[in-house]
Symmetry: C2
Subunit: 168 residues, 2 copies
DNA sequence: AATGAAATCTGTTCGTG
DNA sequence: CACGAACAGATTTCATT
């Protein structure tokens, strides 16, 4: 967890490891080594560093919510007083359906992603959430993809000059 | 992947396995067995079935986007003609920043989650996306949590009667 | 369908170059 | 960082309940 020592920027090899482990988080160091042209001890060392520096935050099974009995997904935007904001309560067991909470800029205080078993379930959940503030919900009809692998950011310096830039 | 044979509903033990593997996707069958009070061969059999039925869709390393150099997250709502919808293009390499795409009910055609390295990066991305249709974006200030473990849906029959119910 | 034990196989780790 | 060997551990199979 600690960023012990120098925090080197991630190099190409690191990103290949990251890509591979996002595809299959159970790869052994041997298999991983073959993919990135490194020996097992070498990749083990790199993975250990990535874990220690927090770049790799953990490993988890991806559960298909539909097959797990939670076929409905919705986004809920919530505008509420900061003091009694949902953010404080969602860590607990009160809203297990809420799988994601973000604080937003703009008019809406926060963005929630929720997973429910049925329309009545969603209806009940929204009623419970609605007590915390003004609310706006969007039901997801279908999901093209989710949890797509994160890729290295562009090094392209043009990105910084994409906007026209202001001049006096 | 195939739902071969009877698709039994998930029992308590299945859900304990699912919970454990969402916490740590690299648990061995031995460790898993100790957590759910089952022998290694027994859990191996259950995990195999959960994988085959697609409940467990895969295993992946969770990457901290901030430490990976993508500190900015935003939600983008996009309204566009179905025929030239972004959905068709996002599978490719054109928009690696888009990590999530959902088709929505309501006025907006789709909901995107994007991860970028900087404000100029976001600006450029939104310009590219904007060519596909009317757009609305929300920058995430902070994320309380993400990828929270999915829990078993309530068996509570009251959920179905939460609404008053209509009568003639 | 699960247990327990045994056998095989694989991954991990350490020392050396 | 790669190589090679020794160790440790996991997965699988089988017979039994």
């Amino acid at each position: 967890m600690k960023t012990c020592g120098v925090n080197r920027p991630l190099d190409q090899t690191d990103w290949r490891i990251i890509a591979a482990l996002q595809e299959d988080g159970r790869l052994s160091f041997n298999q991983l080594g073959r993919r990135v042209n490194l020996s097992a001890p070498a990749v083990a060392e790199r993975v250990r560093r990535l874990e220690e520096s927090g770049v790799i935050a953990g490993y988890q099974a991806r559960i298909d919510p539909v097959r797990a009995g939670l076929p409905l997904t919705a986004f809920v935007q919530l505008r509420c007083a900061l003091t009694k904001c949902l953010l404080k309560t969602t860590n607990s067991d009160e809203f297990p359906e809420v799988v994601e909470v973000h604080k937003l800029s703009g008019n809406w205080c926060s963005m929630l992603k929720v997973r429910v078993a049925s329309m009545p379930h969603l209806e009940g959940l929204l009623e419970r959430i609605g007590t915390h503030g003004e609310m706006n919900s969007h039901v997801v009809l279908s999901t093209q993809y989710e949890g797509r692998a994160v890729e290295p950011p562009p090094t392209d310096p043009q990105l910084a000059s994409r906007s026209e830039g202001w001049r006096r």
